[in-house]
């Protein structure tokens, strides 16, 4: 049996990032004046959960930090401390710190603990000081907190006076225990932190040394734990091992009190490694199926300890929806297979077209029905990869709050259509462009409150994020009711930057489009928020790479709206088939500008650029595909074939092809499954006739051609 902790790490990080998101959302919801108990509980559970996992994997920094958080949150949820603005802000900052810590740990990079330490110190001081409300001068609150502290102290003394409960624990490891990243040693160390632990090991099932499987634990133990901790604290130590061990926890009658029992150590103990594994969400790592082994945890009468409510099922995930986690590779495999079915069906249809007779008719109608079924199946499976766009939108409330505060503006964020679904990969890549657009709106769009009032607008500006399906694609909108774009200024700026001719006659839309030109920025000074190196040109490029498009509408003084259209999935591309020699290649439609035929002599040689031709005032390089790909040419002269002007990564070129074939939707298959990545090739597809056609990677091809030119000159 081989062990790979990495997959468990991956799950831990994935789930922890999600947990942090829900913690952040809860914090934003939290009303400092009247905090909701359930919200505080949610936040507490997140910290507890992350602490547990981190401790288990030995991520001590994270465990220690979340332990401090947990301590503070425990005070808050028990009412021993009140939520203040300072605490709420500090907790929000903790989310950022934790995210950074996890990312660093995930990548194996060092992490600068300055912020973490500062926050930790602040929280520890706050907890130590009790519930002294920093900003609030509320005498009543002060008295409340003092009496709470006194009550808590009394409780502790009472607990100490009664004899400490003893628990008998039987633990036997099952074969998969170690393989799933559990370690009895660490579990017992945790138990020992709860009180006094005695351990007896049962070696009876140890095989001979040669027969030992190093990843299997053959041992069993009988433990006695003297602790004032509640039953669920003991349960949670073994939570991660559920299913991989035989476990029995029984409370024994407390012995006659002889010496004063030690004060039961609450979880606020010192060691950062003391991590009680926390309520873990549903399933473990995707590849591991939960072992069906028996776990016996006989319910004992709940400890009559002071007001210990039986905990709700610690396994209950925060989100109780009826869903399962699926590795994305499984879905891609499924999509792959469906794609192949589409191809097979099209092959069959082509064949069937050649037959005659009664049977042939029935065959053809059957196949037509099959085609409909398959198209439905294809759409269903593509939907599996789709997730609500709300998950990307959810990062914006925080962003808007932070940025508008920093700028001294009042901005309300409105979100609609968050249930609209989008392919997972597209979702992941659309985040950055959206952030840029929203920041732009806040920074350059929405005016300062007094400017708005002077213009007859409400002091509070609105930024609106919207998403909806239309015509087989998805549209995302980022709009604001700010000052809009000034055409005159745009034009002047473009002229100043030498991007357009001062006499150029441009339509309004064309002027607005200017902002997508590289190196363009309309702000008088670029603030550090949105001016730094990332321009609208990058945003447009990123969106184009996803097969989408971005447009804008603006009205001076009223506002601006950016509309992004995206395809529903990445696995399928609309392509133009072209013939080059005896080969067929597919050119993605989104990259094609225009196809044209050159006149003889239209192309010329330019030093350092090779063959070039003139197109809309620019000189574009000619890429002879048959040369690039080592395919015997059918035509040598440029004017005998066609030039297809394509664009990739902001650069344009003319592909020299023999002829245009048809247009169709093709399923992209990776070359790397069985072979390797090829420069200039973005995948392959299977045509209706069953032959393979390569799909061009236009940006890569243009880059490759440029490199070859350089090499020729060198």
């Amino acid at each position: 049996m081989s062990l790979d902790l990495d997959q468990f790490h991956a799950t831990f990080f994935e789930e922890s990032f999600e947990a942090l998101d829900s913690m952040e959302a809860a914090l934003l919801r939290l009303d400092v004046g009247t905090p909701d108990a359930e919200t505080i509980n949610t936040i507490f559970r997140v910290a507890h959960s992350i602490k547990g996992g981190a401790g288990m994997f030995g991520f001590n920094d994270i465990a220690s930090f979340t332990h401090t958080l947990e301590t503070l949150l425990d005070e808050l949820r028990a009412g021993r401390m009140t939520v203040t603005v300072q605490i709420s802000d500090g907790l929000l900052q903790s989310v950022d710190v934790l995210r950074a810590m996890m990312q660093a740990t995930q990548k194996g990079q060092p992490f600068d603990p300055v912020n973490a330490n500062a926050l930790q110190t602040m929280f520890k001081d706050l907890v130590a000081a009790g519930s002294a409300p920093a900003a609030e001068d509320d005498l009543e609150a002060l008295f409340d907190s003092l009496s709470n502290a006194a009550n808590a102290e009394n409780e502790r003394k009472l607990a100490a006076a009664t004899a400490t409960p003893r628990w008998h624990i039987r633990f036997r490891a099952l074969p998969e225990l170690l393989n799933r990243g559990n370690d009895p040693l660490r579990m017992f160390e945790e138990l020992a932190m709860l009180g006094t632990l005695e351990v007896r090991c049962d070696l009876s099932r140890m095989p001979s040394f040669d027969e030992i499987d190093p990843a299997v634990c053959y041992l069993a133990w009988e433990l006695e734990l003297e602790t004032g901790a509640k039953r669920d604290a003991i349960d949670s130590v073994f939570e991660w091992a559920e299913g991989d061990c035989e476990l029995e926890i029984r409370r024994m009658d407390p012995p006659a009190p002889e010496a004063p029992a030690p004060v039961p150590a609450p979880v606020v103990a010192a060691s950062p490694v003391a991590a009680a594994p926390a309520p873990a969400p549903e399933t473990p790592a995707p590849a591991a199926a939960p072992a069906p082994a028996a776990v016996s945890v006989p319910a004992t009468p709940a400890a009559p300890a002071p007001a210990a409510p039986a905990p709700d099922a610690p396994r209950a995930a925060v989100n109780e929806s009826n869903s399962i986690r699926v590795a994305i590779e499984k879905i891609d495999e499924l999509l792959n297979t469906v794609g192949e079915i589409v191809i097979t069906q099209s092959m069959l249809s082509q064949l069937a077209a050649r037959f005659e007779g009664v049977h042939a008719d029935r065959l053809r109608s059957g196949l037509a029905q099959l085609e409909g079924n398959i198209r439905e199946l294809q759409e269903s499976v593509m939907r599996v990869r789709m997730l609500p766009v709300g998950s990307v939108f959810s990062r914006f409330p925080r962003l808007v709050r932070d940025v508008s505060n920093r700028l001294g503006k009042q901005i309300r964020l409105q979100i609609t259509g968050e249930q609209t679904e989008l392919d997972k990969t597209v979702l992941e890549k659309i985040g950055d462009p959206l952030v840029h657009l929203v920041r732009n709106s806040i920074d350059h769009g929405i005016e300062m409150p007094d400017a708005r009032v002077a213009a007859g607008k409400p002091a509070e500006g609105t930024v609106h994020l919207n998403a909806f399906h239309k015509g087989g694609a998805i549209t995302l909108e980022v709009s604001d009711d700010g000052k809009g774009l000034d055409r005159t200024k745009l034009f002047a700026k473009a002229v100043e930057k030498g991007l357009i001719d001062p006499n150029a006659q441009l339509t309004d839309d064309q002027i607005h489009d200017l902002i997508f030109l590289p190196g363009f920025s309309t702000a008088a000074t670029t603030t550090d928020l949105s001016g730094r190196g990332v321009g609208m040109d990058v945003v447009r490029r990123n969106i184009k790479e996803l097969g989408g498009n971005i447009e804008l509408k603006t009205e001076l003084g009223k506002g601006t709206k950016f509309s992004i259209t995206l395809p529903l999935t990445l696995a399928i591309v609309d392509g133009q088939s072209v013939a080059v020699g005896n080969e067929t290649y597919i050119v993605p439609l989104v990259t094609i500008i225009e196809s044209l035929q050159l006149k003889p002599g239209a192309a010329s040689q330019l030093v350092g650029h090779g063959e070039v031709f003139s197109f809309r005032g620019d000189y574009l390089p000619v890429i002879r595909l048959h040369e690039m790909f080592g395919v015997p040419a059918r035509r040598e002269e440029l004017h005998e074939g066609l030039i297809m002007v394509v664009e990739g990564d902001g650069k344009r070129a003319g592909l020299f092809i023999d002829e245009l074939l048809g247009q169709q939707q093709v399923v992209i298959k990776s070359m790397e499954t069985n072979y390797a990545r090829i420069d200039g090739v973005g995948g392959a597809t299977i045509l209706g006739e069953g032959t393979v056609a390569l799909i061009l990677d236009v940006p890569g091809l243009i880059r490759l051609a440029a490199e070859r030119q350089v090499r020729k000159v060198a």
């Binding site: 062990l3 040693l185 020992a192 190093p214 990843a215």
Partner: protein, 99 residues
């Protein structure tokens, strides 16, 4: 491995003796055994050890016992001592009397 009467030098344990290294650890232990007297082992370098590592030592000690040999410790790190104690294996590993 020289077949001498006593072990020429103690068998050193690595600083990591956890489930990750367990397969290799088992091979190394198996190869280290020779047919001389007590098996001297140096655990002073151990920084991280877990159930898998301790279990292998246990199995090894048990095998030695079959030929009337003992596991003798020359150097025990705090991590090793604590780990063994926590799992209730101090006696079985002969750590109780070890310095």
């Amino acid at each position: 491995m020289p077949v001498a009467e006593a072990m020429s030098s103690p068998f050193p344990l690595d600083k990591q003796c956890t489930v990750r290294e367990a397969e290799a650890f088992k091979l190394v232990l198996a190869a280290a055994e020779d047919s001389s007297g007590d098996f001297v082992i140096d655990g002073s370098a151990v920084e991280r050890i877990d159930t898998a590592g301790l279990q292998l030592l246990l199995g090894f000690a048990a095998r030695l016992k079959l030929t009337e040999r003992r596991l003798v410790w020359q150097g025990v790190s705090p991590a090793l001592r604590q780990g063994a104690a926590q799992l209730g294996l101090a006696d079985a590993l002969g750590l109780a009397e070890a310095a």
